[in-house]
Symmetry: C2
Subunit: 158 residues, 2 copies
DNA sequence: AGAGAACGATTTTGACTTGTAACGATACCT
DNA sequence: AGGTATCGTTACAAGTCAAAATCGTTCTCT
């Protein structure tokens, strides 16, 4: 979905800059993890499972704000690669508890390294103080706007 | 495309915050202009045409980084609503020079108002000084990353 | 205990978006 | 003039996504 330029006001507003730079950063990150054979949604799911292991698919879906039917294919892809396991809950055999395998953990570490490098690249124009300032301002906005920390709102619809 | 959380590092990096907040801002802006019956790509195109009137479709496509075939449907939609005109160039009858109509200009003004309100909403957590600081930092990043001012990089691929 | 409602996961379906490739018209070059 | 390149358009195919139907399991009520 290309091109959502700023309304005519000649000095670009902060919100527009935010979406432009944010989209750029998302694209660059997607390129990086593509080298690992992962898509951004897969990466997000993997991380979500690692953050809260043992949850049912429905619980994860609600947490991420994605329809449960979408999770199936996503989990399938991760499970086929041995990064994630569906464990049948003996108490309630309807639910599939999601867990990250050892392989998945290893990959998460590589993702973390990638994320760090990504961060450095994006913020190359800023010194340490400026980066801290930027982080602080963004945290303020994120909090006020009701964004769940660690969760990335979907590209279309929230 | 939901959920591209941060790699495990517990303090969220600036780049991740950037994509999260940026995506959120893009979604909110999309909601606003939906009230005008416009999609974000349409809005971007309208603004691009207003910024550089008389260009050929191919020139606009290259400027926005979108495939020319995609522009056709986009221009069609705008032309059907009387916001944009295709003018046959008498010198070279292959190209269609794109121009914004008076109606289009009027709508652009409403979009600008919407953009201002949007900006205020997104930055509600920040005072004037903080907003200026944020803008300055983002401009630094955008410049270093080679982003064309006023153009919003596409959601997928640049 | 048994019938039916409720729930979780999955499959199916359809709409939508987007990029690639072929097509026709026009213009440039020799 | 004729061959080639360019512009816009159309046609086609692939991929993404969400809403609805389906299947198995569990809970509840009598």
């Amino acid at each position: 979905m290309p091109a959502c330029p700023e309304p005519p006001g000649h000095p670009p507003g902060a919100a527009f800059l935010l979406t432009a730079v944010g989209t750029h950063a998302a694209n660059r990150f997607a390129e990086r993890i593509a080298g690992l054979g992962l898509t951004p949604p897969q990466t997000g799911l993997l991380r979500a499972i690692a953050a809260a292991p043992g949850l049912s698919q429905q619980a994860v879906a609600q947490f991420l704000g994605t329809p449960p039917s979408r999770l199936v294919a996503l989990v399938d892809a991760l499970a086929d690669r041995g990064l994630v396991e569906r464990r049948r809950n003996p108490g309630d055999r309807r639910l599939h508890a999601l867990h990250v395998t050892a392989e998945g953990e290893a990959l998460l570490q590589r993702i973390a390294q990638l994320g760090q490098a990504h961060d450095d690249t994006i913020c190359a124009a800023l010194d340490d103080d400026q980066r801290a300032t930027l982080r602080a301002l963004l945290v303020l906005i994120a909090g006020e706007q009701g964004l769940t920390p660690g969760v990335h709102p979907g590209y279309r619809f929230v």
